[in-house]
């Protein structure tokens, strides 16, 4: 007799992969974060467990870097959203359908070049000796002093992560396009009402995907910050990398990584909560619950009224 294999087995390779290469390492990081660095030559020890490394992470030195990271992460994600939304909308709704494949390919073009090389490209452009700076100086401006600041990091991350915002938004808008938007206009809604009541709510999964795809890797990014940020544009990703690679203090690096994960989760939760709260009155005003029909339907007078 043939026995059917349970469906979840289809995902078994992926589960195994995640268990070995994601769950286990993260578990080890959490475990190390309660330990300490016993000597110059050892990276970590866990014979004595404490929260001391967390206290260290939250000390003013590192705390400033966390603030900076959060600022770049939130500002970068918001900028990517504000810039990517109209582009994705235009691609999915306004651009001729025959051109959409080409447009998607164009959005992907930056990914054909190495992430590091792209970022170094910006270093060249933004440097005080770069062409923008030279051009500005010829018309009497000071040399450009944006490199090695938080602004340069922000510019770099928006550039690097914008496609990750545009693509899911494009897919979401593309799916909403067509009869639903026409139905909205047919029922008397203008462009903006149609956008905010039909297109945007139905694109919600794409918006969530885009925001997470940008925010999470951005918070852990250390290449952009290293290349463009210098000392002033420091981010947590750099700190973690230096603790593991340079200082060889795995305990402290692990604590930083764990705090970063917590910060990311909290920020996402708080962000979702804010959106939920802000849209609450709007959603409430459109809500209409009829309830179960009355026992005696007053249908006769009603039909006359509709006919009138």
């Amino acid at each position: 007799m043939r026995r059917r294999l349970p469906g979840f087995l289809l995902a078994a390779p992926a589960w195994a992969w995640l268990a070995i290469f994601f769950v286990a390492p993260v578990g080890m990081v959490v475990w190390f974060s309660f330990g300490y660095k016993p000597s110059i030559f050892a990276t970590q020890a866990t014979d004595k467990l404490s929260f001391d490394r967390y206290a260290e992470v939250l000390s003013p030195t590192f705390f400033a870097t966390f603030q900076n990271t959060l600022w770049v992460g939130v500002a970068g994600t918001v900028l990517c959203f504000l810039i990517g939304l109209p582009v994705a909308y235009w691609m999915a709704v306004k651009a001729p359908p025959s051109r959409r494949g080409l447009l998607v390919a164009l959005v992907m073009v930056p990914f054909w070049t190495n992430f590091l090389v792209r970022t170094i490209g910006w270093q060249v452009i933004l440097s005080p000796e770069g062409w923008i700076s030279t051009a500005l100086q010829t018309v009497g401006f000071e040399p450009l002093a944006i490199l090695n600041t938080r602004g340069a990091v922000l510019l770099g991350v928006v550039y690097n992560y914008l496609p990750l915002m545009i693509l899911p938004l494009f897919v979401a808008f593309d799916r909403v396009n067509g009869p639903l938007r026409e139905a909205s206009k047919d029922l008397g809604a203008g462009k903006w009402t149609t956008f905010f009541r039909i297109t945007l709510p139905l694109a919600q999964p794409g918006i969530i995907a885009g925001v997470l795809l940008v925010f999470i890797p951005l918070m852990g990014d250390y290449i952009t910050a290293t290349v463009l940020g210098g000392a002033k544009g420091n981010m947590v990703g750099q700190l973690v990398a230096s603790q593991f690679q340079t200082a060889q203090n795995w305990a402290l690096g692990s604590a930083m990584a764990v705090v970063l994960i917590i910060v990311i989760l909290l920020t996402v939760a708080i962000g979702a909560g804010i959106v939920w709260l802000v849209t609450l009155p709007i959603r409430a005003s459109h809500r209409l619950v009829i309830g179960a029909p009355d026992t005696a339907p007053a249908s006769v007078s009603i039909r006359e009224e509709v006919a009138a």
């Binding site: 009869p179 206009k185 029922l187 619950v289 006919a307």
Partner: protein, 390 residues
């Protein structure tokens, strides 16, 4: 002096488009092109207020484009469209006093049934208490009251159809546009909805413009049917006229079924086909031209050919029975007359003759039931005069 002025004023009023009653739709020499192809070609059509009109035709005949121009989703390249006497040129869809029931219903999946129906009223800033009342009324009208708080995805196709109808009617438009709204329903439900739609329309008195490729649907519901072909109206008439006196071979073939005979027109309005002489005295076609004679299967009687090879009377055809099928109330017979000509006969089941496949049969029909048309090369090229199949 005073009298003259009054008359003049009256004359102006009558002549101006403002005199068109609310709910009247006037399509005035409208043309719509997509690149090289002309979807709608100088189409003119006046739809009376409160009329149920069907735009009937095969896909690509321009019927949906016409509807979309009334709704405002397409702008005509030339001509004018007026609803209730007001020109709609350049008027955005959301400012038009028309509502549409879409082919795939287009219900908003993130809103409940009631919220879908309320959407149009909310756009008009209707007071909340009134919205609630009117939504309930519209849902009652569509018999969907009990489903008010469900999501559209929890409804069957027929139920979604009713919600789409309620969502459009709640706005009390002067014109309701229906774009093949019954296409996705199974046959039984479709027939039920046809009846309901017709009842609803006559009760509400709203102008219905109904687009369909289903001739049965058009025949059963419409006050008038506009049969469309290549962006133009081939015939505009009520169901009886369209069925009994089609204006062209195209209409004759599209509405109901026809047996066609191609031949040369001879004296007395007859077509001399290879297999039988088909005539109708009332037809007027130039002698010597090529004509198409049409006779509907239900007018053809069939019997066993007891005198094979006997004299060929007119309006008679001899052949071999190659197919019999039971259609319920009628029996349908497929008769092979020659290599390239077959004939369908249909008899009411109780009086249907008992015939076996392979039998020699003789078919005949009355001269009055024959329609004569000039041969329509464009129509025959499209293949609709092909031998009928069972």
């Amino acid at each position: 002096m005073t009298t003259a002025t009054t008359t003049e004023a009256e004359a102006t009023t009558t002549a101006s488009p403002g005199a068109e009653a609310p709910g009247t739709v006037v399509i005035d020499a409208v043309t719509k092109r997509y690149g090289d192809s002309t979807a709608v070609d100088r189409l003119s059509l006046t739809i009376e207020a409160g009329e149920f009109i069907s735009l009937l035709g095969p896909s690509g005949c321009g019927k949906t484009t016409t509807l979309r121009m009334i709704a405002g989703f397409e702008e005509p390249d030339a001509g004018d469209i007026r609803v209730s006497g007001r020109s709609l040129l350049g008027v955005a869809p959301y400012r038009r006093d028309v509502n549409t029931v879409f082919q795939a219903y287009a219900l908003f999946p993130h809103m409940s049934v009631a919220e879908n129906v309320a959407y149009g009223l909310q756009q008009k800033r209707t007071p909340k208490s009134e919205i609630r009342e009117r939504v309930v009324d519209a849902l009652d009208l569509a018999q969907m009251r009990g489903f008010a708080d469900r999501k559209p995805t929890q409804l069957s196709g027929g139920q979604q159809q009713r919600v789409a109808l309620a969502r459009a009617l709640v706005n009390r438009p002067s014109v309701l546009l229906l774009d093949e709204p019954l296409g996705a329903l199974d046959r039984q439900l479709r027939e039920e909805m046809q009846l309901e739609l017709k009842l609803l329309q006559s009760r509400l008195g709203i102008t219905f413009v109904f687009v369909t490729h289903d001739q049965g649907e058009a025949l059963s519901m419409s006050d008038r049917i506009a049969i469309m072909r290549s962006g133009r109206i081939e015939q505009l008439a009520d169901a009886d006229t369209v069925y009994a006196r089609p204006a062209s071979a195209y209409v004759a073939a599209f509405v109901g079924q026809q047996n066609f005979f191609r031949g040369t027109v001879v004296e007395g309005g007859a077509v001399d086909s290879a297999h039988s002489l088909v005539y109708n005295m009332s037809a007027e076609l130039p002698v010597g031209s090529t004509g198409l004679a049409a006779v509907r299967p239900e007018f053809v009687s069939i019997d066993a050919d007891v005198a094979a090879g006997a004299s060929d009377a007119s309006n008679t055809a001899r052949g071999t029975l190659i197919g019999v099928s039971h259609l319920g109330e009628t029996m349908q017979y497929l008769v092979q007359l020659g290599d390239d000509q077959s004939l369908i006969a249909r008899r009411p089941s109780p009086e249907a003759p008992q015939l076996a496949i392979g039998d020699a049969v003789v078919c005949s029909w009355r001269a009055e039931s024959v329609l004569l048309f000039p041969a329509d090369d464009a129509a025959s090229a499209s293949g609709y005069v092909a031998p009928p199949t069972v």
